[in-house]
Symmetry: C2
Subunit: 273 residues, 2 copies
């Protein structure tokens, strides 16, 4: 019996929770959401209530193993053991994605071919993790473009600094990251994916990152696309959007609109240069 | 036969490479270093020379499986397969640490106890990964305190912004992260570790982070220690430094001094407040 997943995240923004949602949606994996802020905050910075380890920030994934374990492991473990360990709570977007990837078949491991060499499978999973982490690094840099000085202060309190940082993001960082993603696709065995020949967390994360950048920096994103230098990146982004399960999700009410999260559209931070 | 590890990193700074070095040193794992800048740069942003996927930045870990695989898998794979796949190259500090952790016994999994439930072992590894990622997030925030606007520009070009960001780091971010680490140790079954009852990548990363902060922000670090609010964090840092293998490493020439890497001492960015 498969574990039950509950995603704890803020109710009003796609944010980092979206990277987790896309993994579930793309694979048709059952999950529920708990985004009542009070319940959510209970899980963050508060170790006493939900056990070890405490969490710095959402998303927090709740993993319920009871059902699976109570039938499978009854002989070897007492009910007390199960109670004290499950449900488990896991935070940090890349840790959640790396944990989910092999369960959801998003880990870049070809089933059947390399099974005789589990060491190679582990390296392949780690390489998918590498690409996903780099995509999430740019996600964090986008956040810092509107909060370069203090994440807990308002944007309005750091506009001059944000203009400088956003200019660096547009001119230096976006081209540098996109070049890497373009080369990653170009050097892959299959140009429909960043890694291997099947969908991974990296492809889904790239979709979300590019989609968010197109929302936050529409002029700059259009200029980058028009340059033709990153044609494989934009093609992959479009291909993911057209996957039947992703398409259905994007058209559903479960897909939240961008607002004041990581991806924010401040015209003064965008530019065609 | 164990894989051979080669760490590719800059020759002049501890930087992010130090988190990988500590994992090898703490466990007495054989590794070599390749820090000839020309060789190193070949691996970064250049997919054509070292295969897929390309890397955004060092550290890059080279993993040589040939020896192990040529004896073990000769029957099922051709020599061409082995040649095209090994050595493997892996970047992104948290991806390298998460990959190495189970190989080096730094993954928080009690050998023998939970082996009947591999699912729980995977969650434990993911939770160690969660803590390690949060420590590395603060490492990145320390970097951004002297480079809040543009990572490719000089510090001297962004001093006013750095002063603002460093003040936020000292007053808001350091206490927030240290509080979480303190609570993580307090809620653990064993206050000598962040997770579980044995050394993990999280303990080693916390040691390096605190050590770097004490170098970069000596006044602020002393005030935080003196407050007594983070006693378990500073005790754990000291305990790791005293582990025989770590102590020997720290006293060796292999331990590089801090200079102009992530942890930099600019007196104007430090303060006791």
């Amino acid at each position: 019996m498969a574990p039950k997943y509950v995603l704890h995240y803020w109710p009003s923004i796609p944010g980092r929770g979206e990277y987790i949602r896309l993994a579930f949606e793309a694979t048709g994996t059952a999950y529920t959401e708990s985004n009542e802020p009070k319940t959510l905050l209970k899980h963050v910075m508060s170790c006493s209530k939900v056990g070890h380890p405490p969490h710095f920030a959402p998303p927090v994934l709740e993993i319920q193993l009871e059902a699976a374990r109570s039938t499978k492991s009854r002989k070897t473990e007492t009910s007390e053991d199960v109670k004290s360990s499950s449900p488990f709570f896991l935070s940090q977007t890349p840790a959640i994605l790396a944990y989910l990837a092999p369960h959801l078949g998003l880990d870049g491991v070809k089933k059947g071919k390399n099974e005789e060499d589990p060491e190679v499978d582990q390296i392949r999973r780690a390489q998918v993790n590498q690409i996903t982490l780099t995509i999430l690094d740019l996600n964090s840099e986008v956040h810092d473009s509107h909060h370069p000085v203090a994440s807990s202060a308002y944007y309005e309190e750091q506009v001059p600094e944000a203009k400088k940082r956003a200019e660096d993001l547009r001119k230096v960082r976006l081209p540098k990251f996109l070049k890497l993603f373009e080369e990653t696709i170009a050097s892959n065995e299959d140009e429909d994916h960043l890694y291997g020949s099947s969908l991974t967390t990296a492809d889904l994360a790239l979709f979300q990152l590019i989609d968010g950048i197109q929302f936050a920096f529409p002029k700059r994103a259009a200029a980058l696309e028009k340059s033709g230098k990153y044609a494989k990146v934009f093609a992959l982004k479009q291909a993911v959007a057209k996957l039947p399960k992703i398409k259905a999700y994007l058209e559903s009410e479960r897909r939240l609109p961008y607002s004041d999260g990581i991806f924010r559209h401040y015209p003064e931070l965008d530019g065609e240069d």
